[in-house]
Amino acid sequence: MTQFKTKHGYEGLLIVIEGTDGSGKSTQLELLKRSIQAQSYGVIISEWKTSRLIANVIDDAKERNLLNATTYSLLYAADFADRLENTIIPALKSGFIVLLDRYYYTALARDVVRGQDIEWVKNLYDYAPEPDLVFYLDMPVDVLLKRIIGTTGLNYYESGRDVGFSSDFYKSFEIYQNKCLEQYDKMKSEYNFISIDGTKSIDEIHSIMNHEVQKILDSGVLY
């Protein structure tokens, strides 16, 4: 049997769940974390936009409408760099399984929808390690809309109001999320996403993900 090698060369594993808001990413991450933990592996979760240094600046700037498309991209890139270098890479080096709620694919989708050149955005993130697995939760916009309206409600940036597609929240959300989905669709094959129908039940989705993760674990890469 050929020994499985991680794509990034670190000892640990990098596993990403991508998808638009409300697609169920955090629920799945928690489930995955528990099942990996149960097998005595070291596991941590890191979420998008949570660096101690920059996350607050982004929230504050959004609240006060201070961002243009370029500063929006760059601030998220700075947040990512800080988390990558202070959390993700050290954990990978010491052999942890790092579960990520969103990765640079999120930036690619959102920034391009905001009018940035895709090559410019790719350059911002080109130093980041390639994940071992990327799960993508595929959700139709009408289902997403219902989920979000029923839980957190529509927010300004998630609805892409800053891009100026429409001053109507519902309409703007629909256009914005559709454009994000288009970008994700383009990335599916380029980045080998394992695309999962997000309308399936929580258990079904979990078992698909677990199966893929188990294959890697069974290869003995973390022994």
Partner: protein
């Protein structure tokens, strides 16, 4: 394609000064600004790491020594992008003379001296507008250190202490700023920076700068 290598079509004029700390660039820019104002020109001044959006965060992070070279680079890019879109671009459209104390070249010099890839940081800043006049004040690390450290030790990032080149801040400063200067030297040809000797007198440098600016403005049909 980078805007930094293409001539801009704005009505206004963009002038920037570059060089390591203690090279006298801020003094020269202040003299230029006051003179331009006194002869009734529309002029604004913008400074590196001064945007309302981010400069406090960067300063705080620097104080706590918590920045990796990449994060350091991106935070300064946020500052620059914010000032470019909010200050520099509108002022150039309105026909102002914009004086920038440091510009994208500062990032190219410092970030590369910290080990960030030259092409990466140039790509990050590819939205920057090409200045009509970019002046580089050349000084050696020793003279610079004598000027800025007359009554204080070099600061952590200014001395490149994050790179662990030496435990002695003075020695680290010399090595790190030497690297920064080396990057500036390369950019003289790459971006057409005009090199002035920082050790020349304040007066003689100011005379040269005013001459150069007059000639730039002349080419745009403005006589001062």
């Amino acid at each position: 394609m980078s805007k930094l290598t293409e001539k801009h079509n704005y009505k206004g004029t963009l002038v920037c000064v570059e060089g390591i700390d203690g090279s006298g660039k801020s003094t020269q820019l202040t003299l230029l600004r006051d003179w331009l104002k006194s002869i009734g020109q529309d002029v604004i001044f913008t400074e590196w790491n001064s945007s309302e959006l981010i400069c406090q965060t960067t300063k705080l992070a620097k104080k706590k020594n918590m920045l990796s070279p990449r994060t350091f680079s991106l935070l300064h890019a946020v500052d620059f992008a914010d000032r470019l879109k909010q200050v520099i671009d509108p002022a150039l459209k309105a026909g102002f003379i914009v004086l920038a104390d440091r510009y994208a070249y500062t990032a190219f010099a410092r970030d590369v001296a910290r080990g960030v890839e030259p092409q990466w940081v140039r790509n990050v800043y590819n939205f920057a507008i090409k200045p009509d006049l970019a002046i580089y004040f050349d000084i050696n690390p020793k003279d610079s250190m004598e000027r800025i450290c007359a009554n204080r030790a070099p600061k952590f990032y200014e001395a490149g202490m994050d790179l662990k080149l030496s435990n002695d801040p003075y020695e680290s400063y010399m090595i790190f700023q030497g690297r920064v200067i080396n990057e500036y030297q390369k950019m003289v040809d790459e971006f057409g920076l005009v090199k002035l000797d920082a050790m020349d007198s304040i007066h003689s440098k100011q005379v040269r700068i005013r001459e150069m600016l007059k000639s730039v403005l002349n080419n745009k049909g403005v006589n001062i």
